[in-house]
Symmetry: D3
Subunit: 224 residues, 6 copies
């Protein structure tokens, strides 16, 4: 039954989290073996943000945002709120007042598999949100949920304290225990990509850079 | 059967309408008891507009925009066009020429549970539209519809002369007769929110501002 | 069976292609008799681009972008890549490295009935994409597809060398053989629209400009 | 604000309602001028039922079925329950126990723009439901809604006491005041259709029965 | 521009068509190299039918079924009607009267990327339909389309006279010129499958029948 | 990285599993506190089955069913296959041959957040499947996935050996360790429901059985 709030959760190293933010979703996702993406319906409400933070998770009833208040008290600077409704819902759980409160606690953003509102204000405040919907429909405060329990959000399993990376490409979760090693792989990948980019700019082809010609011929590719 | 145009419709007071525009969709929706929202698939074609106006309603056949011309003649300055197709349709009923004509009549924007096109031009012209789709598919002029009759648009019932409020959060209808009292409640709500915002910025928690701790404990919330 | 690459495809005249770009999707679509639009789920990843180019087509397996490398070698300056997956897929087939390579070959953009990633980079590079989804999910290189064969992309049949026009209203295909005559009709249409626009701006009504009053009355339209 | 139950609603004549059931949705919809259909996502949970009844309407919060109990007390034999959630929801508001209760009150079925569950039991009981979803997700009893107020259900405006007709083709609402005249038109239509059916069975073509050849030629239809 | 009816179309051999029907969609689709499927939203209105026939194609305006009458006159016994709307539409283009007429002409069924109605009657008549939607919404007869021209239906390109195979798995198109060779491959496939089925029933594993163990080990599969 | 097969997984007690099957999805879901449902897009391919079994989980690449063969070897009698693709996919991963093989191993059914085919055969064989889609599109065997690792399937987290209950209401997962206690609660719930059903049949109202009248009045419900 719902009604649990876990107060002490472990978090990844701040420098690692910030490094993952700089790497961005696509690179992090590749670096950890193409896992961890939230579903593609999770879109930013304004373009250009690129963030990472530790997940403070919320499991909330449909149309009821009471637990968001409970969760805000659990925020540490550098955290993100991550909300999954217990059944599908597009109601606007979150607006400018809650964002003001969350920012005052050092919150870096919100990931929500439901709706938000006051999006013009949120953009002006620089508070980034990735959501399923934008919808002004209000919520109530009548039923308990949980804070800092494992959740499934937009088809991805997320534990409290996991690192969430989000940018215009979407949202990716990195297991807390894997964060440092994923960052290392992401940096290696970036170094490799910088070299590739220069060669592509110079007009070299992937066919040659990656040596695809022989493999493709062996597979039976025919030129006409 | 279709084929009616109602010429004289009552409209709300201009100052009230403009006040509702300033309040915005989320506040107006709350102020009138969380009713009146159009479905969340109604999205602005460009961000940042916040408008209100009196609804000139159009019930149009799928893929046929003849009635838009009829409706434009019925526009008074400060009105909005609100179009619902008689069966689901994403065709582009409306583009830059019709917007030019509507603007010349003082029209403030378009709400359409179907498609629009020429959206780059509409943005440059500053003509705001909330629609279900952007689609260049053209329409014909072959069948009658109705102008200024009650319609259901994006799952909301709208009467001609009702006040429509629209911004980045979506679209909300306010019954004409309720407009003044809703505005009053909206203003009270805004005053209250300004106070709350200051407290949230100062780091106070909703848990304390709203006195949630006891109620949550009584409901059985457990901290671990 | 898959595995064909056609190297020599005919292309339309460059001046015609550029003329079609200037006309834009809505006008071109009307000019050729309201055909050729791709489905409305094909949306630009950033607003404001208006382009046209010759289609280099790609039929690719779900989640496999090997053929994109093959196709890039077939690009001529002024071409567009047009990719249709062989079954529905939203994976990110294309990102900033492939865009770098394609731009080095003179590619004007990408039309893809699947996903893309690195969209912030693509926007900064000025590389326009129209896609079904934005999704960081990576792809593999394991299975053959085809390049420069006829495809169906987003419910539109496209042959290699056809002219693709794309802007904020969506994407339209013009048969290569029809390109010149469609451009001619588009220009005639634009001239006509300029005149109409001036009359609309001056406050004339479509009811009068197009002579609708009598036809509508004959159809039975009643004013109340 | 929510919290109203209207006890005395007017209903259409029972014989008229039963006649509309026999006519079926497609015929009734045509007979009243192609209006009144609920959206096509409203599908029967089992095939073959064809019913009509007087609407007892329910406006219910998302995920809260308390008002269904309130509404069941208001049922008269021959009524239908018609539920619209106040924001989009697919939770299972209704199952076999509520159906048992509703049937004991003479209820003929349920129209719900949300979810139902226990569908195998409902089928065995012969209780017909048209819904947006089948979903076992339970609901709570915490918030008020309204019973027998005007609602918008699946994009159709429905007043308490309106006649609802439902079969495998979907769901249609007939205004209570129009029920008798719509039935008359439906019967005329059926008589006409019986004659047409016999001619079609005998191999006559619609081209000849309806005299389309000349009109089509005048429109420019060309045979090759 | 629309308005063409092609009267003489080539058809595949009747025995080949009937053979393809017996093979069914999944087998035919595999036999021709995994191409030709219509989108998965095309579903049968009643289960159990397995048919094939020659396509008489219809390109129809949204909400206008005039061309269906034109197409019925072009039917030969053993044909199927295949309708694609020129823009997305779920209206009910087709019901029991048109089915009566089509059956009198020897039509085997309807494939329609839009809606149908009278589905209970169609089931009783044994007339099979694969459609995008079931919707009682009526259509008009005001605008020309085309009959027996190439169309794109549910994301598949279909030429008049192509063989359409349809069953509970969906709908597949086979190019007329390929029909005989596809049937041959389908039969070879079925013979091979019968052998496989017997081995699977006897408890043999695909791992052994297909020799997957070594390949998987070479790819790096690890058992724990 | 993918490529793991876990051979020894713990399973719940057979009698408990069979008891959960008899209770059905709605009751089990309620009994465990309204958690564990898979998304409502998971629908049975034929109606009437009610099963439970131990999950043998499969994480498979999009459009690649190689791991299904690997998983079948890991089946014990009484197990269910549960497949989640690593990115969204509707391809037909599974048909009658794989079902024959799975049944020969004692498999009770398939839960797949993707597509299946040969559905007429599967129905005749009595092999139940809950899926996102029915689609004849074939798959390949080129890339590794995992068997018997934790997965997220249709927005629900599932561990190998968890109990899956499925019927016409959808699909629900019960943690293996909770299975016995959930069954106990489910039985208590059923006993309670039998009593309620009798009272409802006798015409008693939920308003009285559950004592709602006072609570509703206290909340402010008004009768008119």
């Amino acid at each position: 039954m719902a009604g649990r709030v876990v107060r002490n959760i472990a978090r990844a190293d701040k420098a690692v989290i910030d490094g993952l933010a700089r790497a961005g979703v696509a690179t992090v996702h590749e670096a950890q073996g193409r896992i961890g993406l939230l579903a593609s319906h999770m879109r930013p409400i304004w373009p250009g943000a690129r963030i990472a933070g530790s997940a403070v998770t919320i499991s909330a009833p449909p149309g009821d945002n009471w637990m968001v208040h409970v969760a805000i008290e659990q925020l540490h600077p550098g955290d993100l709120l991550v909300l999954a409704p217990t059944s599908p819902c597009v109601d606007g759980y979150f607006g400018d007042l809650l964002a003001t409160s969350a920012m005052a606690r050092g919150c870096r953003g919100l990931i929500i598999d439901a709706g938000v509102r006051d999006v013009r204000d949120l953009k002006e405040m620089g508070f980034p949100v990735w959501s399923r919907a934008i919808f002004a429909q209000g919520t109530i405060k009548a039923t308990l949920g949980d804070v800092n329990v494992p959740i499934v959000c937009a088809n991805a399993a997320i534990d409290p304290g996991d690192v969430i990376v989000a940018d215009d490409d979407g949202v990716c979760v990195v297991r807390r225990a894997d964060a440092a090693s994923v960052l290392e792989k992401a940096r290696a990948r970036e170094a490799n990509e910088a070299d590739k980019r220069a060669r592509f700019e110079a007009g070299e082809l992937g066919m040659d850079i990656y040596g695809f010609r022989e493999k493709l011929a062996a597979m039976g590719l025919k030129y006409e």
